[in-house]
């Protein structure tokens, strides 16, 4: 456990600022050390655990600029790419890269094999099926009776079922892939464990992709392998990315979003009275909670003048979208949750060509899940004191270990 006392100074140095910073314990707020650093200025030079220089960007403008700039690479194999913990660099160099960690033109080639599957129209057409999944999960939770853990009973199964349906993965295997997904995002476990989880999931998806080649169905994975433009390893890596990104992030947003609404009952009441506010409320929750709370990494491919600061080729940059989304320059009183705010400019899905591919799906799932929860459970409340709700401090993606509720 790190107890860091940040000493960000006006000259932009902060030797004692540990990266990644400690969680801080508040389920909603970005790590306190990053907020502290931002008070001294939006660009802070830090050293990573391996001594590599890295720029911490805590303001909105800079993160948006870097994420939208092709002079900053998302390719983790480029020397200088910032890694938050030891071992991951070696792991990534022996892993087949997906478009998430590739630059154009290869990024665009791979991503465009999937863009047709996530268009707004297609996701809108899925709404009745998502609603059914949400209702069935709630029915089951209500039938069991409270208090219940909303993470296990609702927040996790809903996006898992949705991505399984879309991708063509059997939900019966959910314990297997949920456990390993968690390990992939855990920055405290040994790299051997991460490696083993990655291998297990890759083998699983390779076999599944082989099966789809033999027996095609109407799933994203099946269409992907039918294109015959990807190697077996590439297809498995892409399937893995979609599976992990598709349930882990939305699950955490659902649980944290519910907790945020329980903690701000006046906002929940507002949404119960005016359900049409839910679309905007989801944008506000995405902004306020920004679950990618440890930032989005990039490496400079050439020297770049960033608003007067020279970032040299080969230096890492961490775009702290969690603090960016609280930046007063864009969001007045940004530490306040306000479901009526226009939060659409948030960077919770990232920015630039790598912006989340599944965002229409995530939005639909969150709107339906949170809306249904509020409507069907008017007495929803925490079953433990707020202070006892545990966050997953070890995860790259902010989330809750459990959310005990009654209704």
């Amino acid at each position: 456990m790190t107890t860091d006392t940040p000493t960000a100074r006006p000259d932009g140095t902060a030797d004692a600022l540990a990266v990644p910073a400690a969680h801080g314990g508040c389920p909603f707020d970005p790590p306190p050390a990053y907020r502290e650093a931002h008070r001294a200025g939006p660009i802070t030079k830090v050293s990573l655990w391996d001594g590599a220089p890295c720029w911490l960007l805590t303001g909105y403008r800079h993160s948006r600029a870097v994420l939208g700039d092709h002079r900053f690479s998302a390719d983790a194999r480029v020397p200088g790419f910032p890694f938050l913990v030891p071992g991951r660099r070696e792991l990534i160099t022996r892993t087949t890269p997906t478009f998430l960690r590739l630059d154009d033109p290869e990024h665009a080639r791979q991503r465009r094999m999937l863009t047709g599957d996530f268009i707004i129209k297609r996701v809108e057409a899925l709404r009745p099926q998502i609603q059914q999944i949400v209702d069935e999960a709630l029915d089951a939770m209500i039938a069991k009776g409270g208090p219940a853990d909303l993470v296990q009973e609702f927040a996790l199964p809903v996006p898992s079922l949705v991505i399984c349906l879309l991708l063509g993965v059997p939900y019966a295997d959910h314990e297997f892939f949920q456990r390993h997904s968690r390990t992939l995002l855990d920055i405290r476990v040994d790299i051997e464990q991460v490696d083993a989880a990655q291998q297990a999931l890759t083998d699983y998806l390779s076999d599944l992709a082989d099966r789809k080649r033999r027996e095609p169905d109407d799933s994203v994975l099946s269409r992907l392998v039918a294109r015959d433009e990807l190697s077996r390893a590439e297809a498995a890596a892409m399937g893995l990315l979609l599976l992990v990104a598709g349930h882990e992030t939305t699950a955490n947003m659902t649980a944290l979003g519910t907790l945020a609404l329980l903690r701000h009952p006046e906002q929940a009441e507002r949404l119960r009275a005016q359900p049409e506010l839910m679309k905007g409320a989801v944008e506000e929750l995405l902004r306020y909670l920004t679950i990618v709370h440890l930032g989005i990494p990039r490496v400079a491919l050439e020297d770049v003048d960033l608003d007067g600061t020279l970032v040299r080729a080969g230096e890492g940059v961490l775009c702290m979208v969690s603090t960016a989304n609280r930046d007063a320059e864009l969001f007045e009183d940004g530490d306040r949750l306000d479901v009526t705010r226009d939060a659409r400019r948030h960077l919770a899905f990232g920015f630039g060509i790598h912006q989340c591919l599944g965002q229409p799906l995530a939005r639909a799932e969150l709107q339906i899940a949170l809306g249904t929860l509020l409507r069907r459970l008017p007495g929803l409340r925490l079953a433990v004191p707020f202070e006892e709700v545990e966050v997953r401090e070890e995860s790259l993606v902010n989330g809750l270990r459990a959310l005990p509720v009654s209704w």
Binding site: G68, R112, T115, G116, D117, F118, K121, R345, I353
Partner: protein, 67 residues
Amino acid sequence: MQVIIDQDRCCGSGQCVLTVPAVFDQGEEDGLVRLLQESPGPELAADVRLAAALCPGNVITVHGDPG
């Protein structure tokens, strides 16, 4: 106002369609942006400008009607 798109840069995020469905669409197969009207009326100007700002790929350029 005049709207120009550079489809080559589109990453299919759908932000434009979500913001102004009257002006932007996505191809059913490739998921990439399609322009439905090149000169949308002034009542759509603010939304089109927001769509241009939200577009993560810097695909959308707007000319005319400043403000």
